[in-house]
């Protein structure tokens, strides 16, 4: 017998189609104010379309109720390493929602969208300045999209020089999976590069890997171990001397923004994840933005379009336009990138300005090192040195001694209202727990987190099943992911309940 309590739990999870009742409507229907025309031949038309029929109030309650099953930045501490889950300023959302931005059409004549193009131009200038590069295209719509653009630019550069044998791209073993995947999409062979015992690039291995087939290197700085590679100047020099392009994955820009410029260090092209460093909300997985930013060697190959500032004929007012770079690799999307995300990043940079931008990296790095210093001894530290914006611990001792894995620690954190850190990444760290507090968290929040992490280490020793069965307080316990993959059930079907 189902109790009313159980009914409450299950009925709020009913899918829209199972709530549907013929005749209900969720909004008013616009009226027809012109004469009707003949509809096309019936053979072209459908009468089989199934969509939910629900009232507006039902829609709002349904989506509001299930929204509360989420953790989010606005509700929870979210120290998810490599994802830079910092506070997303509300002002930025309001600015992006101004009708003068949100309602304009991407193909309007440039003269009717001067404010929007000026915003793009300003953002390009800021990103060039912050990263020390020569030119920027805001077109890529995600970090991985920026990587693809950058690697296609590297390919075009080599091909234009008649260098068609350069097929190999070196990628450290600690890299995000997008790096090898993007290099492959850009037509390259991936060669994995080991890290040394300090977590830096292994320079001997690098020297052994460079030859006439070298197209370039993709490297994340600071690395995904949360470390600033102390060999970085040697790394970029060796690759460039061998004729390769140095690609910088800017996923971890939050650690060095306002302090270190990629351009100074010998990078040829980078991308910046605006949804990390520059606060575009993550939205449950997107949208993001991943501008690609190039140094002098690659700037002419940027994806189209680029915003430019010029003068009206005869001087006078400035005039902004969208231009095609001379040797462009082409178009990354139908229009000019994710303008809504770009407007938010622009607003963020304008709010912080030259004084506030360096503050980001200062506090991000202090906060991460504080966590490191307080949890040393409670969890393993595979690389015990000053970290940058994130710290990678390992639960390998906990696993060996008590049978509690990184996954169990992560799931137990949920019971304390904290989103788990990134786990099992980077791949070169056993039982990795990658913690990125960000600069927007207070010392009080960090102290609570530290206390919880210490408690969980103690619980692991005393009652490991408490961890194995976690989380305990969520609407769902751990899921059968194997079943999901073995028997894919990917959509609503009539009668499938």
């Amino acid at each position: 017998m189902t109790t009313l309590f159980e009914r409450n739990e299950s009925e709020r999870r009913l899918l829209l189609m199972d709530r549907s009742r013929p005749g209900r409507l969720g909004t008013t229907l616009p009226r027809l104010d012109v004469p009707e025309s003949d509809l096309p031949d019936g053979s072209m038309l459908r009468d089989d379309l199934e969509l939910p029929e629900v009232s507006e109030g039902e829609i709002v309650r349904y989506f509001s109720q299930i929204s509360q099953l989420n953790f989010s930045i606005d509700h929870n501490f979210y120290p998810l390493g490599s994802c830079t889950m910092k506070y997303n300023p509300k002002l930025n959302d309001e600015i992006a929602s101004l009708p003068g931005f949100s309602d304009i059409h991407p193909l309007q004549p440039e003269g009717t969208a001067q404010g929007a193009i000026k915003l793009l131009w300003e953002l390009q200038e800021y990103l060039n300045e912050i990263t020390g590069m020569a030119g920027c295209s805001l077109a890529p719509m995600a970090g991985a999209d920026g990587e693809l653009a950058g690697m296609l630019m590297a390919r075009a550069y080599h091909l234009e020089r008649g260098d068609d044998g350069r097929k190999n791209v070196l990628i450290p073993d600690s890299a995000h999976g997008t790096n090898p995947a993007s290099a492959a999409m850009a037509g390259f062979e991936v060669v994995s590069l080991p890290s040394d015992s300090n977590g830096n690039t292994d320079l001997d291995a690098l020297r052994d890997s460079v030859d006439d087939n070298l197209a370039g290197l993709m490297i994340t700085l600071p690395s995904t171990l949360g470390l600033f590679d102390t060999n970085i100047l040697d790394v970029t020099r060796i690759v460039r001397d061998a004729g390769g392009i140095v690609y910088g994955d800017g996923a971890n820009l939050n650690a060095i923004v306002g302090r270190v410029k990629f351009g100074d260090l010998g990078f040829d092209v980078i991308h910046s994840n605006l949804h990390k460093t520059f606060t575009q909300p993550h939205g449950g997985g997107g949208p993001g933005a991943g501008p690609v930013i190039a140094g002098p060697r690659l700037v002419d190959y940027l994806p189209t379009p680029i915003a430019e500032r010029g003068e009206r004929d005869g001087g006078g007012d400035e005039r902004f336009s969208l231009k095609r770079p001379p040797k462009t690799i082409g178009r990354m999307g139908a229009f000019h990138g994710n303008f809504g995300a770009l407007a938010r990043a622009w607003a963020y940079i304008r709010t912080l300005g030259r004084e506030g931008i360096p503050q980001i990296s200062e506090d991000a790095v202090i906060n991460a090192n504080y966590v490191l210093s307080q949890l040393r001894g409670f969890y393993d530290l595979p690389y015990d040195r000053s970290c940058m914006h994130e710290v990678v611990f390992s639960a390998s001792s906990l696993r060996r001694e008590h049978g509690a894995r990184a996954l169990d620690v992560a799931k137990r954190l949920i019971d304390y209202g904290i989103h788990p850190p990134t786990m099992y990444f980077p791949l070169i760290v056993d039982e990795a727990l990658m913690i990125e507090p960000t600069e927007t968290e207070s010392k009080e929040t960090l102290d609570f987190f530290i206390e919880v992490m210490k408690t969980i280490a103690k619980e692991a020793a005393e009652d490991p099943d408490l961890l194995h069965d976690a989380p305990h307080n969520t609407p769902n316990t751990r899921l059968d992911e194997a079943r999901a993959a073995r028997r894919p059930d990917l959509r609503w079907r009539r009668g499938s309940e």
Binding site: R46, D74, H105, H176, T178, A181, V190, F335, P475, R491
Partner: protein, 443 residues
Amino acid sequence: MVSDSFQSPYVPNTDADRRAMLDAIGVDSVDELFADVPDGYLNYDLDLPRGLDELELGRYAAELAATNCVPGEYACFLGAGSYRHHVPAVVRQIASRSEYMTAYTPYQPEVSQGTLQTAFEFQSMICQLTGMDVANLGMYDGSTSMAEAALMAARITRRERVAIVDSASPLYREVLDTYTQAPGLAVDTISASDTRIEDGTACVIVQQPNFFGYMEDLDRLSKLARESGALLIVSVDPVSLGMFKPPADYGADIVVGEGQALGVAPAFGGPYVGLFACKRAYVRQMPGRIVGRTVDTRGREAYVLTLQTREQHIRRERATSNICTAVALIALMSTVYAASFGRRGLRRIAELCYHKAHYAASLIEGIPGYSLPMRGTFFQEFVVECPLPPSEINERLLNLRIIGGLDVSGSVENGMLVCVTEMNSREEIESFAKALGEFGGGG
């Protein structure tokens, strides 16, 4: 007067907090934490403007926004891949809930069921609209969906040619060229009336309605693809599927499209959501995130990211794609939009666009000097051959607060691609036609 020295509202640390943390870390200054940066490479030279307070920035942003001509204040007849439709208030309200907006990718399903369940709703809705078996949680936009579909077809068929019907969007075609350049896929442009395609063609790509607004003969193209062992990829406008038969009925193997028309603002080109659906047999070759239904340890239904062995974080350079975005928030907007209008409402919106576009076409066709050079069935867009270059006409229309159609004189002499949706009132349509008559008719 209280000091106005800059303090970021987004950083809670005070100097006292910093001092306490640096002491706990065991360093004297923050510079010691940056000691791994090579000597001389800490570069504080930052040529940025000073920070603006909320009042100043609000004013500056409003000033920039005000220099744009905003559809709504202007009558606007632009489409070509970005469409203006009425978005019920509930869509923005739900999508701005911070539980959705400020969550990350749902890697931890126990605390992400909101995102995951709405994602499952989105996949279901896209399947119902397109008639296909399975759909993913979205690509960057319609154009990248189309390009990824071509790569997927090449993987499935192990063939290296792609045929695209010449009536597809030239912007989408450019993106296809970007994606196919490195894998070395040859792209053949074909006509919808061609009776054969090159041997070894992986797919035939067709846009429906096509870039010029007209319906292509999918039966024919489906047969053409099938006879050559190629897959049929159809790029759709989802609103048109409120009334027109879905691509699945014509045997489409992969259906892609731009989801923006379903409840998402034009926003100068993004963010949008690329739709991606296919036959069940091909699901393991799909790019992008996919959500599946399963059970938890207590047997309760719940949702989880699945089939992840296709993806870059596991498969690395052998992944089906490098994508790790699912444009979940935009997908949510489309889901709420479709739920609001429902079966009947979406049909209504599609028919309104159809009737209004046909009314506009009938008025324009009657103006001396103007004609509709294309024949066949169109949905909400059509091409007008003008007596003057459309760029000149559009310039003069702006003075009347009308943003005219897209200049497609590269494809059709003096061609203007006109889009009419339910957003264009009868008055706007009639003013537009009247103005065209004054500019063109008889000189």
